[in-house]
């Protein structure tokens, strides 16, 4: 079937030469075009609106063509249809004007007469140009009308373009602001993009009180850095709510469950009358299931805490042998019922790890419990320990059915049902056990992994560090200094501290900080050119200590300068972003500066610390707006940074995001009184060391009502006397132990 000819509408009066030409030329256009003739622009618009019209031919001799802006009027009404202008005679000076009005092509009637095929070419050309224009139009509408803010920067970091959404959201940027939270780190990311094969950098960014996901890429055409910012505040809030929900629900489930457990126990212990053997059996079933529910709730709570970042390790030196025997003892009954031999071939000798014993016990119980569960009896589960220089590696090996290698990486993901991965059915858990193990081990600075072949069983392994870095530092210092004294040599320690470490940590996140510290440490090591006896130890709050044997004061200064310039001049690549860091470098040398390790260390710490020293930050918690404002203004006058909260819960919220040096607590507040809040703050590891000053009103105070002296509370009474309060604040701040 032949394709129907494309239609063009020609606007020309009946008597026009063009009309005559078209009448003649019709067949010679090869049948590809069908011409429909109209006499006015209005008719052409009407016809085009009906559809099927590919192009409009406008006769330059038509009366309307001589009127104002005929093509523009036409195109305004049917923008998708290209217009070809036919001028009566060849006049180049006019062509430009027609094209400017929006004609896709201009041909003179003379040209057409000479070469009739020219019409077909012009029409096809017009169509092609129309399509290209459309495409350009699409391109132009992105990013301009993209619903998210889009910013373009040149490679020097200057803003070159803002789309409508960006201009509306951040007028200050449109007004030419060069420093802006929305631009933070963009230039660094751009540099990183230039030097990597990564097409896009994605990161999270806080701008004002909103959270954004920022995608950065280099546009191929203009070689500019383009940033698209998607507002994810809502999503973040939802995630936060989910975590909170999970935590609250788990807590709320615990109380009724504990009650059920207690009374089942009372009944089965026959404290409420005799129980028959079958009843006793059923009570056992209930107990087993309560225990299962308890485990699941505990898992959920653990995970919620981990996700909320509120898991803190109570690390100490833990002896491995007793910990392992405790684990074995508690799981032996379970192993026994399945005819599984449970043993540990930990080598003799005292081995210790620097760890949180409860968390590590939980990891073991989980791994060994799983091993027993997935090993058909008779079988074996063996715990073994590998003693390495700085760490211990633990293995839990079973003789179970094994895991497909491709499933191994999935094991430690959240909500993975272990038995599904292992291709078995059985009692389901929360699928959180191994994910929790992984997080706990990683919090200790260890690694966890699994090895398996289907058939011969599975081995889970994890590592734990053996030492406390603090301990190691002191040991090294002591022995290094003893050596130096014996050989009458110099001995120096170098301290490197990263500027504005807290802000940096906030910006690049915990993982990013870890990567950054590693990279900086490597640079320090390379710059110092370590010799035997030199050690680099301890990262703490962005401070690194380097011990250098046989380096005197002058040598130390040279090295310090070298370290400073090596680090300050470098851009660090940390995963998805890059950053530059400023450092303070200082040193202390034996025998000039101090004679003992403690003295040297203290000196370096002091010199590092004094470079910073921001104003102490206080949190004022008071439900009375006036009192709150008064305290804030007064304390700010004295150079303190002051945050405020109007209630106990608000204070707790504030403290989640802001660390403070001291808290001023009003005693009489609704919802949660000062004393309740005091207890909560003192029991939370993050605030337990923060000094608290209670502000008590007159009248019937609980402490006075009880006739107590309240020696453990630090008090001021309302109305607050400025000098008294400042004195108390000074004392409390100077007595605070440095955070560890």
């Amino acid at each position: 079937m032949p394709t129907p000819p494309s239609v063009f509408v020609a606007v020309c009066p009946p008597s026009s030469p063009l009309t005559a030409f078209l009448a003649q030329a019709g067949p010679r256009l090869g049948g590809a075009w069908a011409c429909e003739r109209v006499t006015t622009l209005a008719d052409a618009v009407k016809r085009a609106a009906q559809g099927g019209v590919q192009a409009v031919l406008l006769d330059g001799g038509a009366p309307e063509a001589l009127g104002p802006d005929p093509i523009r009027r036409l195109r305004a009404q049917v923008p998708a249809v290209p217009v070809v202008m036919i001028t009566p005679s060849f006049r180049e000076d006019h062509d430009g004007a027609w094209l400017q009005q929006g004609a896709q092509d201009v041909i003179s009637l003379e040209e057409l007469r000479e070469e009739p095929a020219r019409l077909d070419r012009a029409l096809r050309h017009a169509l092609a140009r129309q399509r290209a224009d459309q495409h350009t139009l699409h391109l132009a509408s992105f990013p301009e009308y993209h619903p998210y803010p889009v910013i373009e920067l040149d490679l020097a970091g200057a803003v070159t373009y803002l789309n409508a959404a960006a201009r509306a959201r951040w007028p200050e940027l449109a007004a030419g602001a060069t420093q802006h939270a929305a631009l933070d780190g963009a230039q660094e990311a751009g540099t990183a993009l230039q030097h990597s094969n990564q097409p896009v950098v994605t990161r999270e960014l806080a701008v004002g009180d909103r959270m954004f996901e920022q995608h950065l890429w280099l546009t191929a055409e203009t070689h500019q850095l383009r940033a698209e910012l998607i507002d994810i505040t809502q999503r973040k809030q939802t995630e936060h709510l989910k975590d909170e929900f999970l935590s609250t629900v788990s807590h709320e489930l615990r109380t009724p469950l504990a009650t059920i457990k207690e009374f089942i126990g009372i009944v089965s212990d026959q404290l409420a009358g005799p129980v028959s053997p079958p009843q006793q059996e059923y009570l056992m079933i209930i107990k087993t299931n309560i225990a299962r529910l308890e485990r699941m709730i505990n898992d959920l709570l653990d995970m919620a805490k981990i996700e909320a970042g509120s898991v803190f390790l109570a690390k100490e030196f833990v002896r491995v042998a007793p910990l392992l025997s405790h684990v074995l003892e508690s799981l032996r009954p379970l192993a026994h019922t399945k005819q599984i031999e449970l043993s540990s071939d930990a080598p003799e000798g005292v081995q210790t790890v620097f760890a949180d014993a409860d968390k590590i016990t939980q990891v073991f119980i989980n791994l060994v419990g799983n091993a027993i569960k997935f090993t058909p009896g008779p079988g074996r589960v063996v715990i073994s320990v590998e003693d390495l220089e700085n760490e211990l590696t633990f293995h839990v090996a079973d003789t179970g059915i094994g895991i497909e290698p491709e499933n191994l990486p999935r094991l430690f993901e959240k909500f993975q049902q272990f038995h599904q991965v292992r291709g078995e059915t059985g009692s389901k858990g929360t699928g959180l056990g191994l994910a929790i193990c992984k997080r706990f081990v990683e919090l200790h600075g260890g690694k966890i992994w699994a090895e398996s072949n289907v058939g011969p069983g599975t081995t889970f392994s994890f590592t734990l560090p053996k030492y406390n870095v603090e301990e190691v530092l002191t040991d090294y210092l002591r022995s290094g200094l003893a050596q130096a004294k014996r050989h009458q040599r110099a001995f120096s320690i170098l301290g490197v501290a990263i500027d504005e470490f807290d802000a940096l940590k906030k910006r690049v996140g915990v993982e990013g900080t870890g990567q950054l510290l590693k990279a900086v440490e490597l640079d320090v090591k390379q710059t110092v050119r370590r010799r035997a006896g030199d050690v680099v130890v301890r990262w703490q709050h962005g401070e690194l200590i380097v011990i250098m044997a046989d380096v005197d004061r002058a040598g130390c200064r040279i090295i310090a300068d070298r370290v400073r310039s090596a680090i300050s001049g470098r851009t660090y690549d940390i995963g998805s972003a890059t950053c530059q860091v400023g450092v303070r470098v200082t040193s202390a040398t034996y025998p000039e500066d101090a004679m003992d390790p403690e003295g040297l260390l203290r000196l370096v710490e002091e010199r590092l610390g004094h470079a910073a020293g921001p104003a102490p930050r206080l949190l004022v918690v008071d439900d009375e707006p006036k009192a709150r404002q008064m305290l804030k203004e007064m304390l700010e006058l004295h150079g303190l940074e002051v945050l405020t909260a109007a209630s106990g819960p608000e204070a707790l919220e504030e403290l989640k995001v802001q660390a403070v040096d001291l808290i001023l607590l009003d005693v009489l507040m609704p919802v949660m009184d000062g004393y309740q809040l005091y207890h909560l703050l003192k029991e939370h590891p993050r605030t337990t060391h923060v000094p608290i000053i209670m502000v008590t009103g007159g009248g019937d105070r609980p402490d006075r009502a009880l006739g107590l002296e309240a020696p453990t509370y630090n008090y001021v009474t309302k109305p607050v006397r400025v000098d008294e309060l400042l004195q108390k604040i000074r004392v409390a701040l100077s007595a605070t132990p440095p955070p560890t």
Partner: protein
């Protein structure tokens, strides 16, 4: 085995009942209170040999109740065992003088043993060790 009197202050009445039943099974006489104020009132009526004290309670919390007990009867005169779900407040309470600190959820057997222990020590050492401070 004994007819010693124990005062139990906890604002969870059902859990308190469970603890009471367990204590009674060992022969203790148990009185319950649901906040610190009630506990002090009950003590004024009849002096107990030991107090089991929850911490987060309405009206008067365990911390103030403990201090008031020590104030009224002399520090350590009446042994107090703190029962709490919080594990980080032990030092704060030890400053005030307590006989023991038990973290919830606890094993009832463990709690009973601790109660026995405290009362046994008290009996053995009542004459020899520190005399109760006068109020």
């Amino acid at each position: 085995m004994t007819n010693k009197k124990i005062l139990l202050a906890d604002d969870e009445p059902q859990l308190a009942l469970a603890i009471k039943i367990r204590l009674q099974s060992r022969g203790y006489q148990v009185t319950t209170a649901s906040d610190g104020r009630q506990a002090l009132d009950a003590m004024a009526k009849e002096r107990p040999d030991l107090v089991l004290l929850d911490v987060l309670m309405p009206v008067m919390d365990g911390y103030f109740c403990l201090r008031e007990i020590n104030q009224r009867y002399g520090r350590g005169a009446i042994p107090v065992i703190i029962l709490t779900a919080r594990d980080r407040m032990k030092e704060l309470f030890e400053l005030e003088g307590i006989a023991d600190y038990v973290i919830k959820p606890f094993d009832h057997e463990d709690l009973l043993n601790r109660v026995d222990q405290v009362l046994k020590q008290r009996e053995a050492g009542a004459s020899s060790t520190e005399p109760p401070a006068s109020t």
